[in-house]
Amino acid sequence: MDKIILTRDPLDANIASTLHRYDAGAVATFAGTVRAEDACNRQLLALDYEAYEEMAIAMLTNICKRAIEQFAVLDAIIAHRLGRVKLGEASIVVAVVSAHRVEAFDACRWIVDQVKTDVPIWKKDVWSDGSTSWVDPS
């Protein structure tokens, strides 16, 4: 099972099940989902994601590796969706397994922060009036 997933298919929220290990006592999972938004009489319908795929995979692989080293966790997995992601669907799922819970939470949170600030992935709001706009990351 691949530890880094970039896919146009819906993400599996229970991705941690692929990390099944008998030496694990804790599994922390994070899912980022597309949240309803209203702006100027239009509603958000979806987000369109795109990536510099080759570079994103290299960077996600590196983030995964650094998390395992820095937080001394057993394993981690990062899945990010591309293309159109509808309201309520997950755009990112991160799971970390470790012996104890503190490292699992810390590593999971760190990975999500890293992905959001550093990996070449972009998203565009898709509005009910047919317009789209790049999401300002600031």
């Binding site: 510099y52 080759e54 990112i92 959001k116 070449p120 992935i121 972009w122 990351p137 600031s138």
Partner: protein, 83 residues
């Protein structure tokens, strides 16, 4: 003066600023990544005005003083918004 040809790729909003996904670009031999940024900024003024753009060379962030060579891939990376 001899020239080299590099591949440029535009991502996210940069695709729209340049009006394209990718292009071949002629650059002087021994041009730096910074020089490529200068050429592209002149060619695409909207790109030149954008804040926070980074350039990747062959899928890695490197100093702008790095020399590019024929066949290299330069990517225009606007501020990311994944997650």
């Amino acid at each position: 003066m001899r020239k080299i040809e590099i591949n440029v790729r535009f991502f996210g909003p940069a695709r729209e600023w340049a009006g394209r996904d990718e292009m071949k670009l002629d650059a002087p031999t021994a041009a730096t990544l910074g020089a490529v940024a200068g050429i592209l900024s002149e060619k695409y003024p909207r790109l030149g005005q954008a804040v926070g753009i980074r350039l990747a060379l062959n899928q890695a962030f490197v100093p702008l003083s790095t020399c590019v060579k024929s066949g290299d891939e330069v990517a225009i990376i606007p501020p990311v918004s994944g997650g």
